[in-house]
């Protein structure tokens, strides 16, 4: 029950805050430490809100070996934020995600869940420019 409940809640709220976890714990009669312990195990659950533009970089084998092994590092430099974090102004967040299974079209970056196949730093710069307005 716990994991589907957390999934449904996150679908609505975007991320799981302390208050939300307490509520879930109360609802399922579980101590909040247990809920937190379970939730932090899985990749899916977020405990901080995303940025307005959320970038997910596929870290699959093909995207790394035959695509661009340094893409994530270059994006970290570009945003001045480490993978898993949000920029200070809350505009951009960066995350490495497991293989999306579209290896042909790598390296893939999802921006707000929309896939951008064949990503390069140049294309990325242009996209970010367009977000600046």
């Amino acid at each position: 029950m716990l994991i589907p409940v957390l999934q449904a809640v996150q679908e609505e709220t975007g991320h799981l805050s302390g208050e939300i976890l307490e509520e879930v714990g109360k609802y399922l009669n579980l101590p909040s430490n247990k809920v937190f312990g379970v939730a932090t195990f899985y990749d899916q659950f977020r405990f901080k809100p995303h940025g307005r533009y959320h970038f997910q970089v596929c870290s699959g084998t093909h995207c790394h070996v035959f695509g661009n092994p340094n893409l994530l590092m270059e994006m970290e430099k570009m945003f001045h934020v480490k993978a898993g974090g949000v920029t200070r102004d809350g505009k951009y967040s960066l995350e490495a995600v497991p293989c999306l299974g579209a290896c042909e079209q790598g390296p893939i970056v999802l921006i707000n869940n929309k896939p951008y196949p064949g990503m390069t730093p140049e294309i990325l710069s242009k996209i970010i420019e367009s977000f600046k307005d």
Partner: protein, 649 residues
């Protein structure tokens, strides 16, 4: 998306097709089946492969373009979305079947090419450069001068039993599945066989788990069947998280009903009335397709209470995983279903004896279950006759790398690795030499070129110190750094380790540190550092052995495979990294030697300003120079140079 079939068609399919075992259908039935199978059509049919990878390649836009074309030209035609046929390097794939003619497959049909191809084909002159090949359809006229799909090496070397429907028939219509013989096996099972008999059939077939474990499926079922309990569970493991492998997804997106049938038979075999499909949450589209397929199966009475009037009840539910590679391990999966952290438990007890909620539970991979219906219909000796004598059946692989063709294939066991690479995938582009093959994803092994003649099979691969894995097969060329590859897999496993046992949690961390030490450049380089790196590699082998011996689950036990296998066959490359600080593939960024081309350098001085270690010397407006001893290989100069005068070796 869901195809609607009227009540009469439903009755027809169940009574006349599914329940017919006599093999001598009457003419009327035969006619109707031919039409339903689209072997005789009255209006054109367009098939578009909208699986996940097809969609990312643009198949949805292709679909919209096709719809627009038909509307504009006022042509009445059927558009059917199908799964992936496996030729991922050619997506988006669009097929056209004109009445009376065989079905024709086109490659790389992005939305801008739709009009051209449709136009040409409707006018009976399909552009040959876009054609992949044509199907063979009884009673339909083949296209002249165009190859047949099954003559292409990519297909001719395959044995597509499990994948026979993928990319061919609609995964959204249960009717398409039934009319092709679907659910006959399930019907036969519940009406003719006891659970015991089904387990026996499976054991006789010698089907082994296709998830990588290779355990005899029938034996596992037998244990669960004979363990007394009021409730049993069957779980289909669709948590496929191996990076670069999406074979399970292909089956789910291409032929979900086959999977459902396999699950149903397996549930019957162990006496379970509850089955779960455990899917990873990233698989949004497969989730939708399965939900739809399950609903249709329910509507047809194949799921629910008293299936086929046999007294057997079955509910299949979808469970979405929270996201963890380790949950592909059966005990971790079960823990996850019990709303706990997905940490494996020490076996015994084995899940087949005591699993989900303490009850006997069988966990089988998607591909294992998808093999089941054919074994029931054709019998265990048929299955044993496929593949090789020591290893019956087929294996589905995700073929990747710089091969000419890439995608998902189903090959008979016993085929040689070299045949897969050169005959099926066509070798590497530009005829590049193969460096090695990596089999089995992060827990897999790399196989050097002198062993590529090995036959694919559990025993045969074990003999060369490798194993089957879940299906990832990557062909590596000289542009791949083996040390970087080992580091990548080790980093992945370190991230995915559940953290329960010391060897895996701490050991993979240490292995990764040692590998990072080899591929990174410290600020100060000294002989001491070199010695440390060398010692690190020696420790690596000892550490890897202990991790393998003592880890709790398969993840830990196999975590050192990439490192050990690359070290075994590519020791020279490791030594180059350690002693010469040189990465021959040019991948390890920090080991690159950066040089300035004096002819291109304008002396703008920007690189000197940006260099964090002051390794660049030069006078403004004169060519600059990089001092190798001070250079840490960060690459900032390379990034900022506006005149492309900096290059690396």
């Amino acid at each position: 998306m869901a195809s609607e079939t009227s009540q009469t068609t439903r009755t027809f399919l169940i009574d006349k097709v599914l329940k017919n075992f006599s093999g001598l259908p009457d003419k009327e039935v035969s006619e109707k089946v031919t039409v339903l199978r689209r072997h005789r059509i009255s209006k054109p049919v367009i098939y578009i492969g909208t699986g996940t990878c097809g969609s990312i390649a643009g198949a949805r836009e292709t679909l919209k373009a096709a719809e627009a074309y038909l509307q504009e030209k006022k042509i009445e035609a059927e558009i059917i979305e199908v799964g992936c046929i496996g030729l991922c390097s050619m997506e988006p794939i669009l097929d056209i079947q004109l009445p009376g003619k065989t079905r024709l497959s086109f490659q790389k049909v992005t939305s801008d090419k739709v009009d051209g191809i449709l136009n040409a084909t409707f006018n009976n002159s399909p552009p040959p450069e876009d054609v992949i090949g044509q199907y063979r359809i009884p009673g339909s006229e083949p296209w002249a001068n165009l190859p047949h799909l099954d003559d292409l090496p990519w297909f001719s070397y395959q044995s597509r039993h499990v994948l026979s429907h993928c990319g061919v028939t609609s995964p959204h219509s249960i009717a398409d599945y039934i009319v092709d013989g679907g659910f006959k096996a399930f019907y036969k099972t519940v009406l003719n066989y006891t659970s015991d008999k089904v387990c026996e059939i499976m054991t006789q077939s010698e089907l082994r788990g296709r998830g990588g474990g290779g355990f005899l499926a029938g034996k596992k079922w037998q244990i669960a069947l004979t363990t007394g309990s009021d409730q049993k569970y069957l779980i289909c493991n669709a948590d496929e998280s191996d990076p670069g492998t999406y074979t399970d997804r292909m089956v789910i997106e291409g032929d979900p009903f086959r999977l459902i049938e396999g699950i149903s038979i397996a549930a019957y075999a162990i006496g379970a009335s509850n089955a779960y499909i455990y899917l990873r949450d990233e698989y949004r589209q497969p989730i939708r397709i399965l939900e739809n397929a399950l609903q249709q199966a329910k509507d047809y009475g194949f799921l629910g209470e008293n299936v086929f009037g046999s007294g057997f009840n079955l509910t299949i539910s979808l469970c979405i995983s929270g996201g963890a590679f380790v949950c592909g391990e059966e005990t971790a999966l079960i823990e996850s279903l019990q709303a706990k952290r997905g940490q494996p438990w020490a076996k015994p007890p084995f899940p087949a004896e005591r699993g989900l909620f303490g009850k006997p539970t069988v966990v089988n991979n998607v591909k294992t279950l998808a093999n089941v219906p054919a074994i029931i219909i054709n019998g265990p000796s048929w299955f044993r006759s496929t593949g090789s004598r020591s290893c019956p059946g087929t294996k589905i692989f995700s073929v990747g790398g710089k091969t000419k063709l890439r995608g998902i294939i189903e090959v008979p066991m016993g085929i040689r690795l070299s045949d897969v690479i050169y005959k099926i995938a066509g070798g590497l582009v530009d005829d590049l030499p193969v460096k090695a093959v990596h089999l089995g994803g992060p827990l897999g092994y790399c196989i050097p070129t002198d062993k590529l003649d090995t036959e694919i099979g559990y025993k045969t691969l074990n003999e060369i110190g490798a194993s089957m894995g879940s299906g990832g097969l990557i062909v590596l060329d000289e542009s791949v750094c083996m040390v970087d590859l080992a580091k990548y897999f080790t980093a992945y496993l370190q991230k995915e380790s559940c953290g329960k046992c010391i060897p895996c949690r701490e050991g993979t961390k240490r292995m990764l540190e040692i590998l990072e030490g080899i591929t990174k450049r410290p600020m100060e380089e000294s002989d001491h550092e070199t010695l440390e790196r060398f010692k690190g590699v020696v420790q690596l082998e000892n550490l890897a052995e202990v991790i393998r011996d003592t880890s709790l689950c398969g993840l830990g036990q196999n975590a050192s495979n990439p490192v050990l296998s690359t070290l075994r066959y590519f020791r020279e490359e490791y030594e180059e990294h350690i002693f010469d600080r040189y990465c021959r593939a040019g991948v390890c960024r920090e080991l690159r030697t950066y040089l300035i081309d004096v002819d291109k350098c304008t002396g703008c001085n920007l690189c000197q300003k940006k260099c964090p270690t002051n390794a660049i010397i030069g006078v403004p407006r004169n060519p600059h120079f990089i001092v190798a001893e001070k250079c840490t290989g960060c690459g900032i100069c390379f990034d900022v140079c506006k005149f492309s005068s900096i290059y690396y070796k």
